[in-house]
């Protein structure tokens, strides 16, 4: 024992001596933030030009259930940031050049971690702007922190309406809100089969899916539909047998609902295996994902709303027709740049991340300033068309920041001439790439 104490004393003295001789150590920070690939600021050629590096803070779900969607969202955001920095930054009229640097942490798809990390981003990392994490639940947690510390936060990957009805003033939504997710499907159904009246809603019991179907149900009832079944299932549900039996019993001819990818794809597969005769089948989130095609025959005829699709064709001409300003690159250019950067097709999550960056860029350009108040005012006044679609925010105190410009596109899995499964845009009429397959085979 004495020998151990002796050695510990020697070690402590040696450590104290080395510390006194060496440079002052950096204060320890844990966990160390991941610095995204962003350009280091370079010196401006002209003496009067001032370069400012603004910090964008956000969390990524590098682990946990949101890993895939979150990663794609961040890929889109990073692509935008690299493009702006590579192009020399945003130039203001007073000569200031703005470049961006990202500070990000892994939120583990966990709400508690989100609150802790957004507090860190706002206070210790001094983020100038915040981008939301992925999912409505995590974003609700982050929005509270952003508002509390007076940081502008652009949300993407978060469709729930509730966050924007809390009286916040600095939170701006890029996604079409959940309340308008399925209303287009009801319109499509009305156009396809005016005689069909019996509709069933079978949905995941989550904040997002519930708010979507409640709004869609109210809308369907307004249109005169008879809601013969309205029932939720747990997020972990794997056996949809009981629901399928209820659908059969109810005599429903159209089924709308779902929630996320896993439950939606399971539901679609079991509806097919059980040979349920429904004419119209629309599910949230799952159908637009490329992996939905793994279901094979079970995917044919299934419709899904999507925030954005590479097929969607928004153009400067369309902007002119709508009387709004066009901003940014075209959809094809985005797809090409994304594929070159990440070697995969962009999903709507990727486009959402990219669009969040574009919103910030446009607001800074319009404000011609780095002052948060001026940037907020520019966002309030924004009405633009981009490759992602139209972007405009609600400015009333009741729902400030809610997205009111953007609308969904509806895709359907169909077979091409060679028998391969392909996604087609079937609604709205102005954006469709094929006639809807009706009734569902």
């Amino acid at each position: 024992m004495k020998r151990i104490v002796h050695w510990l004393l020697i070690f402590a003295l040696l450590a104290a001596f080395l510390a006194a001789c060496g440079p002052t150590p950096e204060p320890t920070k844990a966990p160390e933030p991941t610095k995204a690939a962003a350009e280091e600021p370079t010196k401006a050629p002209e003496p009067e030009a001032k370069e400012v590096t603004m910090v964008i803070g956000y969390t990524t779900s590098q682990t946990g259930k949101y890993n895939v969607s979150s990663t794609r969202q961040v890929n889109g955001l990073t692509l935008w940031m690299n493009e702006v920095n590579d192009a020399g930054g945003i130039k203001l009229s007073d000569g200031t050049v703005i470049k961006f640097k990202a500070v990000t942490y892994d939120d583990e798809s966990n709400k508690d971690r989100v609150q802790e990390l957004y507090t860190r981003l706002a206070t210790e990392d001094n983020a100038d702007f915040l981008i939301s994490p992925y999912s409505s639940g995590l974003t609700a947690a982050a929005a509270l922190i952003a508002e509390q510390y007076g940081k502008i936060m652009i949300t993407t990957g978060a469709a729930s309406d509730a966050t924007y009805k809390e009286g916040y003033t600095l939170i701006f939504q890029v996604y079409t809100p959940a309340s308008r997710y399925l209303t287009g499907a009801v319109d499509l159904l009305a156009q396809l089969d005016p005689d069909l009246k019996k509709v069933a809603f079978v949905y995941e019991n989550t904040k997002f899916a519930t708010s979507v179907v409640e709004a869609a149900k109210a809308y369907a009832e307004e249109q005169g539909y008879d809601i013969v079944l309205f029932e939720g299932y747990d997020a972990e549900t794997t056996d949809f047998g009981p629901f399928i039996e209820k659908i059969k019993q109810s005599g429903a001819e159209a089924v709308l609902g779902g929630g996320h990818f896993q439950d939606g794809s399971t539901f679609a597969r079991q509806v097919h295996e059980k040979g349920v005769e429904i004419k119209f089948f629309t599910l949230l989130v799952a159908p637009p994902e490329p992996d939905f095609a793994d279901l094979g025959e079970a995917a044919v005829g299934v419709i899904g709303p999507s925030q954005w699709e590479p097929l969607a064709h928004f153009t400067p001409e369309a902007a002119k027709e709508a009387g709004v300003e066009w901003f940014g690159k075209s959809g094809d250019e985005f797809v090409e740049a994304y594929k070159a950067a990440y070697n995969e097709e962009p999903s709507y999550h990727s486009m959402g991340g990219y669009a969040a960056g574009q919103v910030l860029q446009k607001a800074i350009m319009d404000a011609d300033s780095t002052d948060p108040e001026a940037i907020k005012a520019a966002m309030d006044a924004m009405d633009i068309l981009t490759a992602y679609g139209r972007i405009k925010f609600e400015t009333s105190p009741e729902a400030h920041g809610l997205q009111i410009g953007h609308s969904m596109v509806y895709i359907q899995w169909q077979k091409d001439d060679a028998g391969n499964l392909v996604k087609q845009v079937v609604w709205p009429p102005e954006g469709k790439t094929a006639e809807p397959l009706y009734p569902k085979p």
């Binding site: 259930k65 949101y66 047998g241 039996e245 794809s265 597969r269």
Partner: protein, 283 residues
Amino acid sequence: MLVPSLVDGLLLGFVYGIAAMGLSLIWGVMNVINLSHGPIIALGMFGVYLVFNAIGLNPYLTLVLVAVMGLLLGILIYWVAVHRVINAPHLSTLLATFSVNMIIVGIGTAVFTTSPRNVDFTLGSITLGPITLPWTRILAALAAGVVTVLLYLFLYRTPPGKAIRAVTDNRAAAELMGIPTNWMLALSFGLGTMLAAISGGLIATFFPFTILAGGSYELKSFVICVLGGLGNPLGALIGGLLLGALEGIIPAFMETSWVPVLEFILFVLILLVRPQGLLGSKT
């Protein structure tokens, strides 16, 4: 509506049963609660998925390979993580197997991401009156039955099986009789993980999954073990069928959110009234 839901639930119950049997066997033989059970179920799913996608081998044939890999993985986990703490308090074995859980989930997330996967394999359905049953579910139930019979033959008719039962009854006495108890424990752990991997492989033929999907089956396995009797493989199968039937019937009458409520009320009642489970604790 009741009959189709009940049949659906029972077929699924067979698969739940063999997942729980693996957990039950490990508990019965070595008093270890294996918290790596869920991720191993998920690895079984990925085993079938990867082989099917790589070489198109029939998933039911792939199960043999998955079973062997599950057995070897279990033996490896035993020697690396469990053996040193086998005689330590329960908390040590819980933490050891929980660590294995975290390692598998961490590596699995890095390699496979949490994207849902789906084995694009279908055998069509059979319709009997009001009941439409996918063949994949029927075959999964049959496979679960075959595995149960084979496990019983192994435990009751073969020398290693008898040795495992001897170790379960009295480890010290078994050692004195010349039985290599450590290897029997390793084999038991391997058999438990093999059953978990097989159940995962069977589930993959009809449900999509992610690397995190095993967690819910692990929880069900705990409930089933308590229902059937901890350490009793046949009890696990009966418990699985009971749970499957409940999951099939309850949503026919009320909202599915009542399923876990009623399941766990039953769980508590069994603990209060018959803590040894419906069939008692034995191997």
